[in-house]
């Protein structure tokens, strides 16, 4: 780890930025060598802004305007294989088209940073936010970090390179922001000076690049005798993430005073019901918790940032004192026991002697608004379920039945 120092306030640039623009600035300051991307709403601004930086000579980056997202991730792997720092961006259908290559990126241990403006999957085609794209790739081997604010999107994108490129990890990272809700929403962002980011990240040191001086074969055929060992190593690598993420965050905090953890806890200490949500819903949940607290309700919030690897033990510990965990999530797993986030949480709690009840609400699909009133509706239902001692495996809120 490099030694970084606190950046004085007069070196900080403050700007109003959308989530997309904040990511574009973070990519610029991260001195990305190659960025390959294909346009898709609501991610487009990331690449548009970055292309503008390139057109003005503000970045020393080869931007590859590929003909598909499948090729975007493929070009990223090629560039990463020779040792470059690499990024791409996508959403929804574009991410789905990458799906095959997402697995290759992770299994070939390419530290690619993949920023995603999370958006609903077709059909019907819909450009607005939910988490079905991110949840669809959850088993691909990518690290997944979901952000609540433009500031967090900026910070997380920078940290993502350090995490991905760490030799104990060498895995790609997805940085998720809610499509439109965050990607197109202007917020105050404190930006670091370029040199501070460069000092924090350094230059990527590849472990085994494709190099004519030391020829190696990458991406071979591995059959029954070796395939499983590749997967075993990949599994080990992703479980190194919590430790290294903590180190990366600690260093980032030294420089900025900011850190986020694998999840954020808000008024959970004495909470009887804990709302668990991701991304921008975390902000709404906290505001709702404040109002309910004023009315004497013992409610808290966990805003999960790291979905992969899933911080199971930590989440179990954080909710172990509560009567119920009320999950608000923006994805469905059709025909499954429950929804993706609830499945993780329920599994995480399985070994607890005294388990809080898990109540799962699927909300906001296709960008359907999730206002505070929906949280209150869910909260009232959760209280009733706690009284009855029984809750449905999952249910939807805010939808015509």
């Amino acid at each position: 780890m490099t030694s970084v120092e606190k950046v004085p306030q007069d070196k900080i640039t403050i700007e109003g930025l959308t989530g997309d623009a904040a990511i574009a600035h973070a990519l610029k300051q991260s001195d990305v060598d190659v960025l390959a991307a294909y346009p898709i709403t609501p991610q487009t601004i990331i690449v548009e802004d970055f292309q503008k930086f390139a057109a003005d000579g503000e970045v020393q980056t080869r931007v590859i305007p590929v003909e598909s997202e499948h090729s975007a991730m493929s070009a990223c792997i090629g560039a990463s294989a020779v040792g470059a720092r690499v990024a791409t961006a996508s959403a929804s259908a574009g991410l789905a088209l990458m799906w095959e290559i997402l697995y290759c990126a992770a299994s070939m241990r390419m530290p690619i940073v993949f920023t995603v403006a999370n958006r609903a999957l077709s059909a019907p085609i819909n450009i607005h936010n939910d988490h079905s794209d991110g949840m669809g790739m959850r088993d691909s081997g990518f690290i997944q970090l979901y952000c609540q604010s433009s500031q967090e999107a900026y910070d997380t994108t920078i940290m993502a390179f350090k995490l991905a490129e760490d030799h104990g990890v060498l895995l790609p990272v997805m940085v998720g922001i809610d499509g439109f809700i965050l990607s197109h929403n202007v917020e105050r962002v404190e930006m670091l000076p370029d040199d501070a980011v460069q000092k924090f990240l350094g230059v990527r040191v590849p472990v085994q690049p494709l190099d004519p001086k030391n020829p190696i074969t990458m991406g071979p055929l591995a059959l029954t005798d070796y395939y499983f060992e590749f997967k075993e190593q990949q599994d080990e690598a992703i479980w190194n993430v919590p430790k290294i993420y903590k180190q990366v965050e600690a260093e980032f905090k030294k420089m900025t005073g900011r850190s986020y953890g694998m999840f954020e806890e808000y008024k959970t200490k004495d909470a009887e019901i804990i709302i668990l949500a991701m991304s921008t819903m975390g902000g709404t949940a906290k505001a709702v918790a404040d109002v309910l607290r004023e009315k004497g309700e013992k409610v808290g919030v966990i805003r999960l940032k790291m979905f992969r690897p899933f911080p199971a033990k930590e989440i179990a510990k954080a909710v172990s004192g509560a009567k119920a965990v009320m999950i608000f999530e923006k994805a469905m797993s059709f025909g499954a026991v429950t929804s993706p986030l609830a499945m993780e949480v329920k599994s995480a709690l399985y070994d607890l002697e005294k388990k809080p009840m898990v109540v799962d609400f699927v909300v906001g699909l296709g960008g359907r608004d999730v206002p505070p009133t929906t949280f209150v509706e869910g909260y009232e239902k959760t209280k009733k379920y706690v009284e009855k001692g029984k809750a449905p495996l999952y249910e939807t809120l805010g939808v015509r039945k």
Binding site: A36, H70, A75, G78, V82, G83, P212, G219
Partner: protein
């Protein structure tokens, strides 16, 4: 910069890029094609390859037959992977992070991954103008998955998805004219090659490396397993494919200047297709007189294409 090895003497001295011990089938022309490609190399080179026979049979972990840096990611994306490799090498050199003055980047695919599933990635690579040589080794079907028809399969060719049956004569459709389609991208260099005419092959491949920007090599690659041809005859079959007009040898410069290569140019007339069909089990059904009309259609088409090509090359 290393010279291309065109004479047998120089070829013996040049480092081989594919070692012995790979597990390609006996008689397969693909390893020969790779070795001929190796004779053209001018220095540090990175190879990106699509999934296919050559990929799976040369890199069975923990072994590899490749003596130069090599990467495979998926079936349809070597052109995109190579795009990333070449741009990354360039920018890292600019930033002082690569000591190599220049690294040639080659992408390789079989006909399935080049004519069909990876075609979009190739077209994108060509349009963006990356300095990459893309080579397709064309054995006329998805041989790796068990001889299924591809866009490169010839009319009348029997495969496991274009059976010759009571009412079908094998594949009915014509072969996709990939080299022409690629040339229509107006890239600096396109050439067709085959392993029999090895000097022509090496010289063209070297030219492909030397042009600035994308170049495309279409290599004819007999497959005894899929074609039901004799394992010792692959190189002769390559020659016959040129002589019958199945695989004419030509170059296209900047998508505009068409040049017939000597082996094709020197042909007084094309040999009958029947001679070519007679060498392979995959055409055996065509002997049945009920396919006479169909065979005539194929002959007409091949001679029409041949005349058109001659015209384009200014040979009338």
């Amino acid at each position: 910069m290393e010279k291309a090895a065109v004479s047998i003497k120089d070829m013996l001295k040049k480092d081989q890029i594919l070692s012995a011990g790979h597990r390609m089938c006996a008689g397969c022309a693909a390893p020969t094609i790779v070795k001929l490609m190796g004779m053209a190399l001018r220095g540090p080179t990175i190879v990106c390859e699509n999934t296919g026979c050559l990929e799976v049979a040369t890199t069975i972990y923990p072994y590899t037959a490749w003596e130069i840096p090599w990467i495979h990611v998926a079936f349809e994306n070597a052109a995109a992977v190579a795009s990333g490799v070449v741009e990354a090498m360039d920018v890292m050199r600019e930033k002082g992070r690569s000591e190599d003055e220049h690294v040639d980047v080659i992408a390789i695919g079989g006909d399935g991954s080049s004519f069909d599933i990876g075609f979009g990635a190739i077209s994108g690579m060509l349009e963006r103008g990356h300095d990459i040589v893309y080579m397709v080794y064309d054995n006329g079907a998805y041989q790796n998955t068990g001889i299924q028809r591809s866009g490169a399969t010839l009319p009348g060719q029997e495969t496991t998805t274009s059976w010759a049956g009571k009412v079908e004569p094998g594949k009915r459709q014509r072969k996709k004219p990939l080299a022409e389609i690629v040339a229509a991208h107006k890239i600096p260099y396109v050439a067709t090659v085959d392993p029999y005419h090895y000097r022509d092959f090496i010289k063209k491949f070297r030219k492909a490396l030397e042009v600035e920007g994308p170049a495309f090599i279409h290599a004819f690659s007999p497959c005894p397993r899929g074609w039901r041809s004799q394992t010792g005859k692959s190189i002769e079959l390559s020659k016959l494919a040129v002589e019958t007009g199945i695989h004419p040898l030509f170059e296209v410069i900047d998508g505009e200047e068409w040049i017939m290569s000597s082996p094709s140019k020197n042909l007084k007339e094309l040999k009958p297709l029947d001679e070519y069909w007679a060498t392979q089990g995959q055409f055996r059904h065509l002997k049945d007189p009920k396919w006479d009309d169909f065979k005539k259609q194929i002959r007409d088409q091949v001679s029409h294409d041949w005349e058109l090509l001659r015209k384009r090359c200014g040979l009338e």
